[in-house]
């Protein structure tokens, strides 16, 4: 680990200004950042420890719920309001990592979780995300956990987390404090980026931006499901995951909100699928059309081609279970 200055700021505003001015990383749980710092994948000059900041509350916001940035993953998943009104979020969180890690991992930190690309983790290998301009080793390497959607020739990494996939399905909003003192709200679906020519940028945060919380909209009606396919039964990253919020109107699908994990550089959300499903009587034919839309342009980079049928199958499984239809 590269030496760094450890700073415990007096206030969030101070932290935001200092970080904008001097650079460095904010640290909360540290479960991802310290992992990467030990490997010197991340080499910040300074760490701003935000753990004492008053951002660990879950509180009502309008008819929705505001999850503070420092709420631990477990605290969020176990919160009675989240369990009752946003079960897809509880389920997604509980499908990730372990109890130990989730006790430390925070809402904001988890949103900023970095990729698990093998080559990003190996400092002996070229990686555009870690060192822009050096090349992407995964393109012609082993890429079985890599993206099939939205990748670029600069980077085919995926966003590995679970919680954010549920937040996409719920259409949550990320609340950000800027170094200027201003606040902005970014729809979570716009928070993460596709790699394009700047794969080093995972998300839209600018220097001095501090996530202060995530706002959940009013509880959606209908069925909420999170399905994660993985190689081990626990403690493994997703091969494919699907978060679904589906409301039926009699025999027909009234509204379906779907997000997908482990397919792209960000949780994948495609509004065309929701438009397609709305008003349809659930059937395998409809589900297949949804999968066609999802997988339009899906690319096999050599080892990850299985994700194309796997995503289709998992989407159909989830839609069947959510709608009670199909077959």
């Amino acid at each position: 680990m590269k030496p760094f200055d450890y700073i415990r700021p007096e206030s969030l505003e101070y932290a935001a200004q200092q970080q904008q001015r001097d650079g460095g990383r904010f640290i909360a749980g540290g479960t991802n950042l310290l992992d990467l710092m030990k490997l010197e994948v991340e080499t910040p000059e300074r760490l701003f420890d935000l753990n004492r900041m008053p951002m660990a509350q879950i509180e009502p916001e309008g008819e929705g719920l505001r999850i503070g940035a420092l709420v631990s993953n477990n605290a969020c998943a176990a919160d009675p309001r989240v369990r009752r009104d946003y079960p897809v979020l509880s389920r997604a969180i509980l499908a990730g990592a372990t109890f130990q890690l989730r006790n430390r991992a925070t809402t904001a930190g988890n949103l900023c979780q970095r990729t698990r690309c093998y080559y990003f983790y190996n400092t002996a290998m070229p990686c555009n995300k870690r060192e822009p301009g050096t090349g992407c080793s995964a393109l012609n390497g082993i890429n079985r956990i890599h993206a099939i959607l939205g990748a670029s020739d600069q980077c085919i990494a995926t966003y590995p987390g679970d919680m954010a996939v549920a937040l996409y399905a719920l259409d949550a909003t990320v609340e950000i404090l800027q170094a200027s003192g201003g606040r902005r709200h970014v729809p979570v679906r716009d928070f993460h980026r596709l790699p394009g020519d700047e794969p080093e940028k995972d998300n839209v945060l600018e220097p001095g931006d501090v996530i202060t919380g995530v706002v959940l909209p009013p509880p959606p009606q209908g069925v909420q499901l999170y399905r994660k396919v993985r190689e081990r039964s626990s403690y493994a990253f997703a091969l494919v995951s699907v978060a679904a919020v589906v409301r039926m109107d009699g025999e027909r699908i009234a509204e379906a909100s779907l997000a997908f994990g482990a397919l792209a550089h960000k949780p994948w959300h495609d509004p065309r699928i929701e438009t397609l499903l709305a008003g349809e009587v659930p059937s395998d034919a409809v589900f297949d059309k949804a999968a066609d839309l999802l997988l339009e342009g899906a690319e096999d980079y050599g080892h990850n081609g299985y994700k194309i049928p796997l995503a289709r199958r998992t989407l159909k499984e989830v839609l069947r279970n959510a709608t009670g239809g199909g077959q």
């Binding site: 479960t31 992992d35 509980l94 372990t98 109890f99 130990q100 006790n103 626990s234 403690y235």
Partner: protein, 171 residues
């Protein structure tokens, strides 16, 4: 640069930390405090051998900096029992042969200790059928909740037995 003198309460005793801020809580325990019962199996949060209980919650001490923990109350395996006065879980681990090489064992036991409290608090898990229901620690629930502690000797069946017996004795 801010002062990095910190004070942690470990197993009821006070320890001062004033070292290199890079020091993980795990290395602080093992090297500076002489509490080598907490094990390093991967140093990256991928095995659970370093599990300790901080303010009542289990965490991976390898993925946390000592400097971040001042004021925290930390319980390590040494704080749960001694060879002459085993805690109920420790005794059950011996009885059920819930370990072989013993290296992951302190982490397993700290983890199990905290898990029992989590269940009492009603925290659901990935395998809970009902998120709102009362938590009943079935074999499957225990297995999922203990999946953050890898045992390469694979004493898993016996670990679950030991926990089940401890729970039943405590009821």
């Amino acid at each position: 640069m801010p002062q990095t003198n910190r004070s942690l309460t470990i197993n009821g005793d006070t320890y001062e930390f004033s070292g290199d801020p890079r020091t993980s809580l795990l290395d602080f325990l093992r090297r500076d405090c002489g509490l080598t019962g907490t094990k390093k199996g991967c140093d990256h949060g991928q095995c659970g051998s370093c599990t300790v209980i901080v303010n009542g919650q289990r965490i991976n001490s390898c993925l946390s900096l000592a400097v971040m923990h001042d004021g925290d109350a930390i319980t390590t395996i040494e704080g749960l029992g001694t060879p002459d006065d085993l805690s109920p879980l420790q005794a059950a681990f011996v009885k059920h042969d819930a370990y072989q090489c013993g290296y992951c064992t302190p982490g397993q036991i700290c983890s199990a200790q905290a898990m029992l409290e989590e269940a009492k608090a009603g925290w659901p898990s990935f395998v809970s059928d009902d998120l709102d229901g009362e938590v009943k620690l079935t074999r499957e629930e225990i297995s999922e909740r203990m999946s953050g502690n890898i045992c390469r000797c694979a004493a898993y069946s016996n670990i679950v037995e030991a926990i089940l017996e401890t729970m039943e004795a405590g009821e």
